[in-house]
Symmetry: C3
Subunit: 305 residues, 3 copies
């Protein structure tokens, strides 16, 4: 593996297994004993869009492994891009003094364009609505770690399934393990037909539903995302459905005791705050799992797993 | 001590003494011998408001002690906060990959809100007009270090005493050592009555005055702050008093030879630049003392003093 | 050498030679063996203007030599400067917690003003249209390294020679080695008379020309810069000349096989992208040479060459 650009690179059970084991091993290692895989190496985090959580998580991961960070928090405004430089030139220039680039850019395909001219690894930390592979990997790693296994899980995916990038990336990974999907969304925000067609072809079970009433008690995993008011043509349509997609403690109490609730964060109001103390709420553990998955991915690029 | 949120935590002579000794010891240590208390630890500096001096001073302190820095220079604009995430969620997320958070936020009480949900230490680097405890601690450490003792000092506090956060925090600390205060301010910017009432109750002497004419030759410490024109309803009122609060070399020459002049910085024009070369001008030494006080505070959180 | 402020400090063949040797030596050293000259030292990068490439290159250089970085990506907006602090005070304050300042500031002479009050080294990373000495040094080092020698080279300088800061800095350095100059620019953007007069005085050959037709096949080095449309009073004047200053692969094929093409970057469209694969295109190697020249300069400030 030379770059991390797309979740498609990871649709491979044995590769995922190796990553999970590496992340678990790092999670069991005291900080002072982390492998110094990136010792003497410089990693650039180039963010053309704000994403503090993702950037800081990567920067912690790099430094945990002994690497140096050089960073642009707001590359769009402060970099040569503002002077009209193309991304390929920026990439070639950073190749001259860094050993890797973690890039966030609003344009779909930007990470691939960077990788096409780069001799050092490019890690896609989100290219617009296109891909955010490390998020999908930390999501599936969180399910693996929190549930103990991935086989044949019943997974409820909730919210904006039409535009939700994280959901689109997660589904093909879970499909490898024969998940059964509950696709819970407002009618105007259902999963794109291309994705359901793919599930059908693979023989994966899925139910499309506009309310979670019949799903909550069934699922092993509830993956929440936000439904944005802006996606609706009129406010009334939004008001009619919105309560179906705000998770309260009362809802959670109908779920299996061992079910888990995940969310890519940031959350606005789609999970009530008193849910946080329920043991099924694992979205902050999910962030921590992300640190170790990112460390494992860096190891996979610069050493061996 | 789990967090550093308020100067009230430090109204304790024996704790202050331990911090002063620790800071003095660090100041006498060559850089290559600093204790590596934060080795293997990641500290996040999350600044929702610009404050380069405070942020960089903390980041130098953390790295001097062997820690890694992950940083957001402009978290308000670039972070998940912009997407509507509440501070508590941001804090919980950073808990997942860092060992401490140094936070600057415009809202009073924000640092306490972060601490209420945080398992890792929160350091308040300024929460609006409310508290900036490390500034107060570096101020009193500077007086201790520059004067050799804190007992019964005559301290002139100059400028905007009504809104001046640094002054409000410094007064109760100096009161522990029976300071005598000269409270020098325009009549519309006098110290809040709640603070003078507290001094009265403790039997601490203070004089309120609208000019420093009778105070300059008396004081051991002159703590300058800025009087902002915007605080006055009309320009004439400001013009009438402003020269009372701009310190010139001529003024300084009436002070005791061993007196010291401090200022929390940035200075705009309230101290004439030719004062800088007078040995009584100690406001840049004060910044350096701040580095060592911050290192001592970090040690108090992550090790023992 | 205490500070790096101006290319004039480097108009000395023996000093340049020492820097080239130091940079070459670093370039031949594996990353894990870089001298840890800055170990235990903190270097501040304070950028009042965006310049991601320059800042990140310096930050990589500092960390390669074992130093810590504290950084402000957008000091103009986020620092005390926004509150009215003068640069001298900012410099004095940073002196209190850092061991060096790398500064980019829009005002000519700003780096010298900072140096005048600084006990720690100031490195000028660009002060407006005035100086950017490390760019000139990496340019001449690139010519030295790519050509093997600097003696009596034929150097074509192309583009906006009137305002082009990099060109103005490079010419006196190359003049030390008896270069012969082809000054290729639109008629309204010729090199300032003060510089040509200086060349004349030193007995250095130069040709001013408004097209490179007769120069391309002659030069050993082609140093490209951008011609900005905004420099022309009317678009027609610009349209008439612009193709003379956009380098295509066809142009490159008329050049000597061992000639090299440099550019300070960012490039917008003044070099066609298919030129990049020609072995004469050395502008990305130039960026890499910059890393090592900056490391050599830091060594010259904090150790010996």
């Amino acid at each position: 593996m030379k770059h991390i650009l797309s979740v498609k690179q990871f649709e491979d059970i044995s590769l995922l297994k190796r990553l999970f084991i590496a992340a678990d091993k790092l999670q069991a290692t005291p900080a002072c004993k982390y492998p110094q895989t990136l010792s003497g190496r410089t990693i650039a985090t180039i963010f053309y869009e704000p994403s503090t959580r993702t950037r800081l998580s990567f920067e912690a991961a790099v430094q945990n492994l002994g690497g140096h960070i050089i960073s642009s928090e707001n590359a769009g405004e402060f970099s040569s891009a503002a002077k009209g430089e193309i991304l390929e030139d920026t990439t070639r220039a950073i190749n001259a003094f860094a050993d890797g680039i973690i890039i966030r850019h609003p344009e779909p395909g930007s990470a691939e364009r960077a990788a096409a001219v780069s001799k050092i690894p490019i890690i896609n930390a989100g290219d617009g609505a296109h891909e955010h592979p490390t998020q999908a990997l930390l999501d599936i790693y969180s399910i693996y770690r929190e549930k103990g296994s991935l086989n044949k899980l019943k997974v409820g995916l909730v919210g904006d399934l039409l535009y939700g990038r994280t959901v689109h990336s997660l589904i093909p990974l879970l499909a490898l393990y024969k998940a059964k999907f509950y696709l819970i969304s407002p009618k105007n925000l259902t999963l794109p037909k291309t994705i359901t067609a793919e599930l059908h072809k693979k023989g994966i079970h899925y139910h499309e539903m506009s309310s979670w009433n019949n799903a909550l008690k069934e699922v092993d995993v509830l993956y929440m995302t936000r439904v944005q008011r802006e996606r609706f043509k009129n406010v009334e349509d939004y008001m009619k459905v919105k309560d179906n997609f705000i998770l309260t403690l009362k809802d959670v109490q109908t779920m299996k005791p061992k079910a888990i609730i995940l969310h890519p964060l940031p959350r606005v109001n789609e999970i009530a705050q008193d849910v946080d103390n329920d043991p099924r709420a694992r979205y902050f553990a999910q962030v921590r799992n992300g640190l170790f998955m990112r460390m494992a991915l860096l190891q996979s690029l610069y050493a061996k797993l």
